[in-house]
């Protein structure tokens, strides 16, 4: 009979290391959430398409709705709840106010590890 204790303990050590990996990979440091920088153009207007809390969670749904409306129905005007009109456009509307894509959109996206492929085709007017 062989003694398998070393093998089993090695297995358990690997298990615990994997299971606790987020703790030691971050090494107990606190890490602040990013604060997206609001561009002067946006602050001047003072309003977004929807209230801030909703924009935070649902802006990608808004964009999806806009895209479908424009591409499928040719309908380019959006009227929000408070009656304001917006031209449904990613580069020409969102980025008209949020002129600082890198400091605004990307800040959150890097933190949340989302990499919207939209920019394969759409442009950031400032980068042009």
């Amino acid at each position: 009979m062989t003694n398998d204790k070393p093998k089993i303990i090695a297995g358990l050590v690997i298990f615990v290391l994997i299971a606790t990996s987020p703790v030691w990979l971050n090494r107990g440091k606190t890490k602040e959430a990013p604060t997206p920088v609001m561009a002067a153009e946006a602050t001047a207007k003072g309003y977004c398409v929807m209230p801030k809390a909703e924009m935070k969670a649902k802006h990608m749904k808004v964009l999806d709705g806009w895209r479908n409306s424009v591409v499928r129905n040719g309908q380019r005007v959006y009227v929000n709840e408070s009656g304001k009109q917006f031209t449904m456009s990613l580069s020409n509307t969102c980025l008209e106010c949020h002129t600082n894509k890198a400091e605004f959109c990307d800040k959150c996206h890097v933190y949340a590890s989302v990499n919207p492929y939209c920019w394969d085709c759409h442009v950031d007017p400032k980068e042009k």
Binding site: M1, L12, V23, N26, A53, M60, Y111, A112
Partner: protein, 334 residues
């Protein structure tokens, strides 16, 4: 209706409501967001280690592998080196296929009666369902690491891109989450619809299924329907893993997230107590992890009592002359 699945279903629904009511109406956010998750992880780690140590203490004196092919024999008989391994590399190959591809489940058969005869048919769908379930679960877990690591490693981004390959809508549909829910529903329906399987299914079989359906269901609901503030949730998750737990202020972490998190906590805490421990058990299965070398090596039971035997050799020594006289054959002449 059947008490086994109804009680499991009710238990999961009640647990979900507990977390929702506790955080949306009673303000118990720290309980459900911090204490219970921490407690659950401790339970999971300590419980799993204790269980494996308990199993490790069981002596395995003899070779009891299930043999699924020709064992090592004469040179001109071909051995099935994976399904009936006689060496350590063979065992490693066998464990590799068992753990990563569920090889023994692949051989699943279904008994039935055809034209009055018992028949055994190959039944592959349990294997397909199990494989889809485990791998989508793994992918979802790996992708979730984006909430727990900062900066997020590039590898996780690659997994996300591959998982969102079809680029359907925004936020993009992630295949693994959908496959996970589909696969658990399939595994559940198998238990509910096949009478023989339903007959041997207990609450302990249904409970993890409903729990995982609840987890995947709330996750999919959060991502595609309700939409939650992912940045706030990552703040909470990061506070947990950096050991500076805090419920994020000034932002709302949705009640559904607490349901999701609480069901995950229950799953983790329940894990070491349940059949889910097959995650560790598969490595310790003597029917899988032993080489079949019983005909090459003598395995002696180490806790055999130290008995005094009268061996045949000693017997012959005692009676050799008399045996020769009586014309009985002896092994050693005088």
């Amino acid at each position: 209706m059947n008490v086994q699945y109804m009680s499991a279903l009710i238990a999961v629904v009640v647990l979900g409501f507990l977390a929702y009511i506790g955080t949306e109406f009673l303000g118990l956010n720290s309980l459900f967001g911090i204490f219970i998750p921490y407690l659950a992880v401790c339970f999971f780690l300590v419980g799993a280690i204790l269980k494996v140590m308990k199993w490790a203490k069981s002596p395995v004196p003899f070779r009891i592998p299930t043999t699924c092919g020709q064992q090592k024999s004469l040179d001109w008989i071909e051995q099935n080196k994976i399904d009936n391994p006689s060496t350590t590399p063979g065992v490693i190959a066998r464990m590799f296929f068992e753990v990563l591809l569920f090889r023994s489940l692949f051989r699943n058969t279904k008994a039935g009666i055809k034209e009055g005869k018992i028949t055994y048919e190959w039944e592959i769908f349990l294997w397909v369902g199990a494989l889809a379930f485990h791998y989508s679960f793994l992918t979802v877990l790996v992708r979730h690491m984006r909430f727990f690591l900062e900066p997020v490693p590039g590898l996780i981004g690659i997994v996300e891109t591959l998982d969102g390959f079809f680029q359907v809508g925004t936020p993009g549909v992630l295949l693994s989450g959908v496959v996970l829910l589909g696969a658990v529903l399939f595994l559940l329906s198998r238990r509910l619809l096949i009478p023989q399987v339903r007959y041997i299914s207990l609450m302990a079989d249904y409970f993890p299924l409903f729990l995982i359906i609840g987890i995947a269901g709330t996750g999919i609901y959060m991502r595609y329907f309700a939409r939650v503030d992912v940045v706030a949730i990552k703040q909470l998750a990061m506070s947990l893993v950096t050991l500076h737990p805090a419920i994020p202020q000034n932002v709302t972490v949705s009640g559904i997230l607490y349901v999701h998190l609480f069901l995950v906590s229950v799953l983790f805490a329940y894990f070491p107590l349940s059949k889910l421990m097959h995650m560790g058990g598969v490595f310790l299965s003597p029917t899988r992890n032993l080489a079949n070398n019983s005909r090459m090596e003598r395995h002696i039971n180490p806790w055999n009592p130290d008995l005094k035997f009268h061996t045949y050799e000693a017997y012959e020594n005692d009676f050799r002359e008399k045996m020769i006289e009586a014309g009985l054959p002896v092994e050693k002449e005088a």
